[in-house]
């Protein structure tokens, strides 16, 4: 690959228009990418971000406007053609083959052959050489699925760069990486930038935009709002441009929760599971949100799974509204009035092909049993009520849920559990993968549910978010509950210190409370 001259426009789009039926997804959008820059593309869901990317990478053809690659007008018939011309894409879900070797993933479709037979040794040697340039020294003969998502992402990047070499599109590459892995990935991206590639970076994490990107283009409602250097911009500026208004999370006064909370609704004592989470004791009160912080893999999700009976606890007791309860499977949890919005809503949460209405009533129907079917009028009434209460934006309630945006899908799942009138609601990463506007709405909804007297247990990786709705925060480290923060300690700094294990003021969990 010859080095590209930095600063020159490598990919330009002018006046791009794309309509779907009546809806104008992109309205005369301009975009330009320079060689040797990381260009962040931001916008809420529905702003036209993914439509623009699909046009730049050849997945869609524009209805109007011009694309120029290194100054020459181009049209792409598909992603493969765009890739041949120099534009490589790495998607959020790694689009490689988990069942094949790393080397084969790098060379699939262009393996060197002799007399029709693949020259495997040559491929393996080249693959090792290619990955060494990315700081990866791994056995390229091992299956891709043997490696972490971060390594898989880097292999995907290496493949895209090898095949294209001018433009690299990174679509939410960090969504399932932990902090350390994100750092590694960014090092790789900076290396590619230095080699003169133009890099388009799409993410929901604004702090990562500031950390990595040089310029930013912001879209809103299918229009370009701005393209600017990030130097001199603040997060608030960017958010304001994305939303056209100021959104800040409403921080509730610290220390308030302790005094106003009501009676305990759910109390777990000594709940634990070998290989899952060390025994913990925790009680959730009426009108209280308990936030959970900790790194990926610290046992946060495992804690929620134990509470909801997805994994069976080895020991411990559960008391719901003063009466002992047995929770060994999710059906018992639902019967006890628990609700659970899982982390991966596409896999564990929504029924994509079922309608909004069916998705909302399904938990209530399961709780009622087979013989008390909700009739259609009741279903419509329920779906309507929760769609309105949660502001679920769907053209009609009979459309399949998979067609909704991530934020709306999340609200459908929330509505599903609210319909059973839960005593206790567990939310695992309720704002993951949804845009800033919907994000703020989910946070507001959580706060409203708390004010209405519900007990909630909310897991989140975003500290600003955790402190925005939590009365108390429990901190997980190495599959153990290591701290419970209350009052003024419910603040990002204190949580970070507790995660790192350097918080002197934190109330350590008394070991005696665990059997």
């Amino acid at each position: 690959m010859q080095p590209l001259e930095p600063g020159r426009a490598v990919l330009e789009a002018q006046g791009i228009v794309k309509t779907f039926g009546q809806h104008k997804a992109l309205d005369a959008v301009d975009f330009d990418l320079r060689a040797g820059e990381v260009h962040a593309l931001l916008g809420e869901n529905g702003a036209g971000k993914s439509t623009l990317i699909k046009i730049l990478t050849g997945a869609y053809q524009p209805d109007g406007g011009v694309l120029r690659l290194e100054g020459a007008p181009v049209t792409f018939r598909g992603p493969l053609q765009a890739q041949d011309r120099g534009i490589g894409t790495v998607y959020q879900e790694v689009n490689l083959l988990p069942n094949r070797s790393v080397a084969e993933n790098l060379f699939l479709g262009r393996q060197p052959t002799r007399f029709g037979l693949i020259r495997r040794k040559e491929i393996e040697a080249q693959a090792a050489q290619v990955l060494a340039a990315y700081g990866l020294d791994i056995d390229v003969r091992a299956e891709l699925s043997d490696y972490s998502v971060a390594v898989q992402q880097i292999v995907a990047i290496a493949r895209a760069v090898e095949l294209s070499g001018k433009v690299l599109v990174l679509d939410e590459p960090t969504a399932s990486l932990d902090r350390n892995e994100v750092e590694r990935l960014f090092d790789v991206v900076r290396g590619l930038k230095a080699r003169g590639l133009g890099i388009i970076f799409i993410t929901h994490f604004l702090d990562q935009v500031f950390e990595l990107a040089d310029r930013v283009t912001i879209l809103r409602n299918g229009r370009k709002i701005a393209t600017q250097d990030l130097a001199g911009l603040s997060t608030t500026d960017v958010v304001r441009m994305m939303l056209g208004k100021d959104v800040a999370f409403d921080h509730h006064p610290s220390g308030l929760g302790e005094s106003v909370r009501g009676a305990p609704r759910v109390t777990f004592t000594g709940l634990g599971r070998k290989g899952g989470v060390a025994p913990f004791s925790l009680s959730m009160h009426e009108g209280e949100v308990v936030g959970v912080a900790g790194l990926l893999g610290s046992g946060r999700t495992e804690m929620a799974r134990l509470m909801f009976g997805i994994d069976t606890a080895d020991g411990g007791t559960v008391v719901v509204d003063g009466a002992p309860a047995t929770i060994r499977n999710p059906a018992q949890a639902v019967a006890a009035g628990f609700g659970f919005c899982p982390e991966d809503r596409k896999i564990d949460g929504i029924f994509g092909d079922l309608s909004v209405r069916e998705n909302i009533i399904i938990a209530l129907q399961a709780k009622l049993g087979w013989f008390k079917a909700l009739n259609r009028d009741e279903q419509i009434e329920l779906a309507g009520r929760y769609a309105e209460a949660l502001d679920i934006r769907a053209a009609d309630h009979d459309m399949p849920v998979k067609l909704l945006s991530g934020g709306n899908q999340q609200k459908v799942i929330l509505g599903r559990w609210l319909a059973i009138d839960p005593t206790f609601l567990i939310l695992d990463e309720p704002t993951r993968g949804i845009d800033v506007g919907a994000h703020a709405e989910i946070v507001r909804t959580i706060n409203r549910l708390r004010e209405e007297g519900m007990a909630l247990f909310v897991i989140s990786s975003e500290l600003d978010e955790v402190v925005a709705y939590s009365n108390r925060v429990v901190v997980m480290r190495d599959r153990e509950m290591v701290a419970e923060l209350t009052g003024e300690n419910v603040a990002p700094d204190a949580i970070v210190q507790a995660i790192a294990g350097t918080l002197p003021a934190a109330t350590p969990i008394a070991k005696e409370t665990q059997p």
Partner: protein, 331 residues
């Protein structure tokens, strides 16, 4: 060690153990005669199972295999006995018809987006029905060529006979192994079994590969039909009933994951041999009903599906804790 090798090693170990036990009971089983018969008696199944391996590796299934074998035997008998064609010409016609049939099924699976189970089920009825229309009765084949083939073999030390059809099967397995592991087509088959979406985004020609996979499977089923016709010297529309299921069993027992993406053609060979071993044991024993073959195969199949489940769910999960990950960074 490569995870997908484990079922293959398990199969090999079980085969060797079973063979050892059988030999301890019937020392007569350790002879080249038995080995020769092994290969000859299972030749048609082995050939069909090679095609099935590719289909299953790609994440599909081919239920039409037995029916294609049956149809081919009838077609050859009709061409040779009624129309007076030379058997070699009849074989060529039969293979071309089978290839076209497979290509049509592959095209239907890809372009109409119908699951392979349904398309090949329809193909099964179609081929079986067409065979009955050609001739509902069994047609005996009497031809000098057939006599010549049945009399040609390589004499092994110890008196065993490596017959023509046994050799054909061995050749097909060698061809299958090279095709699966050393060619771009083979890579594409595994890629489809891993993830069709990813494969398409990585530039695998999905349509061509799918059509070729089913063409290969039907052509090999056609070749199995040729071998079956040589083996039985007859064409009968109801022959090779259920062979597709034996082939699927051989593939799965041979360590190929039923959901695609993982497996080896060589494993299928051992799967076929294991079935042959059970049959031979029953012949040697003389008191057991031949249905015991099915029972043993059923038990083995179940065991292997359990084994695969254990091996592939014990695989490192994507969200494993950082310490459990096999991440080796330089830097």
């Amino acid at each position: 060690m490569n995870r997908s090798l484990r079922p293959l090693l398990a199969t090999t170990a079980i085969f060797l153990l079973a063979y050892l036990l059988a030999v301890l009971q019937f020392p007569g089983m350790v002879s080249t005669r038995v080995l020769g018969n092994f290969l000859t008696d299972n030749a048609f199944l082995g050939i069909a199972a090679v095609g099935m391996t590719f289909v299953i590796l790609s994440g599909g299934i081919d239920l039409s295999v037995g029916a294609v074998i049956g149809f081919t035997t009838v077609l050859i008998a009709v061409l040779v006995m009624w129309l007076g064609l030379h058997p070699l010409a009849a074989f060529a016609v039969a293979l071309i018809v089978a290839a076209g049939f497979g290509a049509a099924m592959g095209a239907a699976i890809h372009y109409l987006r119908v699951p392979s189970f349904i398309v090949t089920l329809a193909g099964m009825f179609l081929a079986r029905g067409a065979a009955s229309v050609l001739s509902p009765d069994s047609i005996g084949i009497k031809h000098d060529f057939y006599t010549a083939v049945s009399r040609s073999y390589i004499l092994l030390p110890g008196g065993g006979r490596l017959t023509v059809i046994g050799l054909v099967m061995l050749a097909v397995f060698l061809f299958g192994i090279v095709l699966a592991h050393r060619t771009r087509f083979g890579s594409a088959v595994y890629a489809l079994g891993g993830s069709e979406t990813s494969a398409a985004l990585m530039g695998v020609p999905v349509a061509r590969t799918t059509i070729l996979i089913y063409t290969l499977s039907s052509t090999l089923a056609g070749l199995a039909g040729v071998v079956f016709s040589l083996y039985t010297s007859a064409g009968y529309s109801l022959s090779a009933l259920g062979v597709e299921l034996d082939a699927i069993a051989a593939v799965v027992i041979g360590g190929t994951l039923l959901t695609g993406g993982y497996g080896f053609v060589a494993g299928t060979f051992i799967g076929v041999m294991l079935q042959g071993l059970v049959q031979t044991y029953i012949v040697f024993d003389g008191t057991l009903s031949s249905w015991w073959t099915k029972i043993v195969i059923g038990a083995l199949l179940f065991m292997f599906i359990l084994l695969q489940r254990l091996i592939f769910t014990a695989a490192p999960r994507r969200k494993a804790a950082p310490g459990q990950r096999k991440t080796l960074w330089t830097a």
